[in-house]
């Protein structure tokens, strides 16, 4: 059975190129597993950077409550803590940052701060974490969001936490990509349809060529089970 969490994780992994420096933060089980998958398949020389500062952790035993814990530090080959990951991005050395948010517009804007007014919000969100500095400075900011509806993908953000180098957005329905400053549809997951994507997106869907997201291969699924035997990649869907 094809699960959106597997399709999303595999889609994120495939966006990582061999040799790239890649960072993910807190509350990021799915991208954390995607980085580990990319390194176990097509991108063995990608550099895994994270909050505890464990560079390239070898076969980490992942924990359910954190993607910023000592499981990524103890089996690492070098120490490079969060503050230095940010410094790396500021000087142009970070290739990929995985980030999320709650609202996205079709020009690559991200809101992770508030719904309503900033000072008297209707909903106070957790905040953008590194977004406001990483989205403009990382070469590519890849966004994932497990909710895909018209409130999430909207033509008007309540607040712009960051705008900059968003390159792709991976959702349970599809993958968007930035093209000429505009978010266009890159591929629709085999578990969804163009109609479902259009109905759940608050701005007009545009595309150049419409593809179906290639489903996870046998090898990718096998590696996923080795990397993530407890199935933490589905945490956000539970």
């Amino acid at each position: 059975m094809l699960r959106p969490c597997d399709i999303m994780t595999v889609s994120m992994a495939r966006l990582i190129r061999d040799g790239e420096t890649v960072f993910h933060g807190v509350s990021s089980h799915m991208p954390m597993i995607a980085v580990l998958l990319a390194k176990a398949t097509h991108a063995p020389n990608a550099v895994h950077l994270n909050i505890p500062g464990g560079v390239d952790p070898q076969k980490p035993r992942l924990q359910s409550f954190t993607s910023a814990g000592d499981d990524l530090w103890s089996p690492a080959v070098a120490e490079f803590p969060l503050q230095e990951v940010f410094d790396l991005s500021m000087r142009g050395g970070l290739d990929v940052a995985f980030l999320s948010g709650v609202q996205f517009d079709n020009r690559g804007g991200v809101n992770a701060s508030v719904i309503g007014d900033y000072r008297m919000p209707k909903v106070r969100l957790p905040g953008g974490a590194g977004s406001a500095v990483l989205i403009p400075t990382a070469k590519r900011a890849i966004i994932w969001r497990t909710k895909h509806d018209v409130r999430t993908f909207t033509d008007k953000l309540d607040f712009t936490t960051a705008r900059g180098n968003v390159s792709d957005i991976v959702t349970p329905l599809c993958v968007f990509t930035m093209y000429g400053g505009e978010l266009i549809l890159k591929s629709v997951h085999p578990t969804s349809s163009i109609e479902e994507v259009a109905q759940n997106t608050g701005f007009p869907i545009r595309y150049i060529t419409l593809a179906t997201t290639p489903p996870p291969t046998e090898e990718e699924l096998k590696k996923l089970d080795e990397i993530d035997p407890q199935d933490y990649r589905s945490l956000e869907f539970r």
Binding site: H29, T66, G127, A129, G130, Y232
Partner: protein
């Protein structure tokens, strides 16, 4: 000189309204025993500083101890969802959320540790955070004329850091991920250390692994075994799922007081 004291005495030295730095990251090595004592002591008006906080911020908000939170991210991670008490307090207007990017907290602490009033940062190029907050302002490079954003220094009155080892003089060793704690100790006026284990006076002198927080930055040392619980502490214990879930089920301050009384 011994700085060893009790948790209660150490927390009583923190005045209401203090700018308070907290060590650790999310549920990893946060100074939970100290935070619970601050809640028992009914501290008021605390202004918290942290890159990514979770349960400790949520608990202090439920206890009514907090006036403001300067942080990049306040939430439990995936499994335990959002910090509902923080969120409600901000939405009700009783707590001011000063949203940073995590890096601007780091930059603000670096400015304090360098003894300068602000730090220029790249990034923040197109963000409503700059106009919405008075701790960000444009700054011009005097050499090239390039415009960057500056973040105002954050110099905590006191920071609380939970370490695995400390001696009575205040030399403390953080094992495993250090997060921003070493910087926090340099940026703050003073630091209170809670430690899993107190070692003898000559421990660090005889070891090749030196303390990463030196005694002269530390005002008090507290022996606090399981001092990061119900969060995790590297090399000592993981999270206590049952205790976290029992906290998450609390809805008001009296329920929190009863919950705190049941804990050591």
């Amino acid at each position: 000189m011994t700085k060893l004291t009790t948790l209660s005495q150490a927390m009583q030295t923190i005045p209401d309204g203090s700018l308070l730095g907290l060590g650790g990251n999310a549920l990893n090595r946060a100074p939970m025993a100290a935070v619970m004592e601050l809640a028992r002591l009914r501290k008021r008006g605390l202004r918290l500083v942290k890159t990514a906080g979770g349960m400790e911020v949520d608990l202090l908000c439920l206890a009514g101890c907090v006036a403001a939170v300067d942080a990049g991210f306040i939430s439990y991670e995936t499994e335990y969802s959002l910090c509902q008490h923080y969120r409600k307090a901000v939405q009700a207007g009783s707590v001011k959320a000063n949203e940073h990017a995590c890096y601007t907290v780091i930059s603000a602490l670096r400015a304090a540790s360098y003894g300068i009033p602000f730090m220029p940062v790249r990034g923040l190029k197109i963000s409503d955070l700059v106009a919405a907050n008075d701790y960000f302002a444009p700054v011009t490079d005097p050499f090239t004329g390039e415009t960057l954003n500056a973040v105002k220094a954050l110099r905590p009155d006191v920071s609380i850091i939970h370490a695995q080892l400390a001696d009575e003089q205040g030399n403390a060793l953080i094992e495993g991920p250090k997060y921003e704690d070493v910087l926090l100790s340099r940026a703050s006026q003073t630091t209170i250390v809670t430690a899993e284990r107190i070692v003898g006076e000559d421990y660090f002198a005889r070891s090749d692994v030196k303390a990463n927080i030196p005694h002269f930055l530390v005002s008090a040392v507290v022996h606090a075994p399981r001092g990061a619980a119900p969060g995790a502490c590297h090399g000592a214990y993981g999270v206590n799922d049952e205790a976290i879930r029992s906290f998450l089920s609390l809805t008001d301050e009296p329920a929190l007081a009863a919950w705190l009384n049941r804990r050591p």
